[in-house]
Amino acid sequence: MNGKKMFAILAIMIMALSIVGFAYAHWSKIVTVDGTINTGRLNLIIVSAADDDTGIDPGYDKDVADTVITIDSQDQQIAHITITNAYPSYHVYWHVTIQNVGTIPAKLKDIVINNPNPCLNVTAWDKLYEQLHPGENGDYSGYVHVLQCANQTATYTFTVQFVFWNWNEVP
């Protein structure tokens, strides 16, 4: 093999290798963004409950009916009001303190009263559309009034629901 042939073979090999190298041997660097999202928690509980009937019936001079309001021992999102020995015109105010124990602000979206008894007047109010920041307490009140048409030895039930939403979605 003469010198020219050897040179031609070497040149062809170098060109072939350079082409192969261009295809496979480039360097790379990947930049990655890892994402983690921890959502907040909307949670409210009743921290205290009270009523105005502490002995003598409100507005009267005798202790006849009795009202007791307690926080449910299993679920602090529920309070129970029990009124016994009520009579026409008996009325009582009740109060609950609700604490925002979640991590995002809450806003009172609605108060839903379910009272199918025409002889019982149940109302609730306070701070509709107002905000409770995490850790903050809010006081909410209601009123129960036994009307003239109430029967003797009767049992009437009702519920009052305070509906809270995450603050940013309540108009």
Partner: protein
């Protein structure tokens, strides 16, 4: 794809998500107040007690009563009575309910021929049948909780005496009816039935 197209798609996605989020993605927490109201009862049961002594320890007159507790009613009869018989007694009113009551009205009716006149000098009532004086008597209240109230479990009393007079006719029959109206104490009208003597 040019930058404007990418921006447009991104903006549309954001709006769609925003709408979807507003409609479905709010968080909710409900705090519930459960209420139970039980009402009391208003119930008065009357009873009756009499005391009378007949001459020579005879048993001539028959004075007794029958209570109908459910109707809050009491029947009293004075049978075979005669002039100069005096009867003392009382009606007791037992509040067997759970609510204080007030006596708000007393309505007494009887034979149309009867009428009563209060004698201010003698401090008693005189009962006439036409022009004939047939009886004298009086009544008064003893309400331990203060007239006209009776608390649950307590008893109030209406005491009376009646003396049959010489004008009492033989073989006559008289009837009377007394309605005592009670209301739950907190709604009683301001006006109260009078308390004679």
């Amino acid at each position: 794809m040019d930058t404007k197209k990418i921006m447009a798609i991104f903006a549309i996605l954001m709006i769609a998500l925003g709408i979807a989020g507003f409609a479905y993605a709010h968080w909710e927490k409900i705090v519930t107040i459960d209420g139970t109201v039980t009402t009391g009862t208003l119930h008065i049961i009357p009873s009756f007690h009499v005391n009378y002594t007949e001459a020579e320890n005879k048993t001539v007159a028959d004075i007794d009563y029958e209570v109908h507790a459910e109707e809050n009613d009491i029947d009293i009869w004075f049978d075979n009575v005669y002039p100069c018989l005096r009867v003392d007694g009382y009606i007791d009113l037992n509040n067997t309910g759970t609510i204080p009551v007030n006596l708000v009205d007393i309505d007494i009716t009887g034979n149309e021929t009867l009428h009563a006149v209060y004698n201010e000098t003698m401090k008693h009532w005189e009962i006439y049948d036409g022009q004939a004086l047939i009886a004298t008597g009086d009544y008064w209240f003893v309400f331990p909780d203060g007239y006209p109230q009776i608390d649950p479990g307590h008893t109030a009393y209406i005491y009376f005496w009646i003396h049959f007079e010489e004008g009492l006719p033989q073989n006559a029959e008289y009837w009377f009816h007394i309605d005592l109206t009670f209301w739950n104490w907190n709604e009683s009208p301001a006006t109260r039935p009078g308390q004679p003597s």
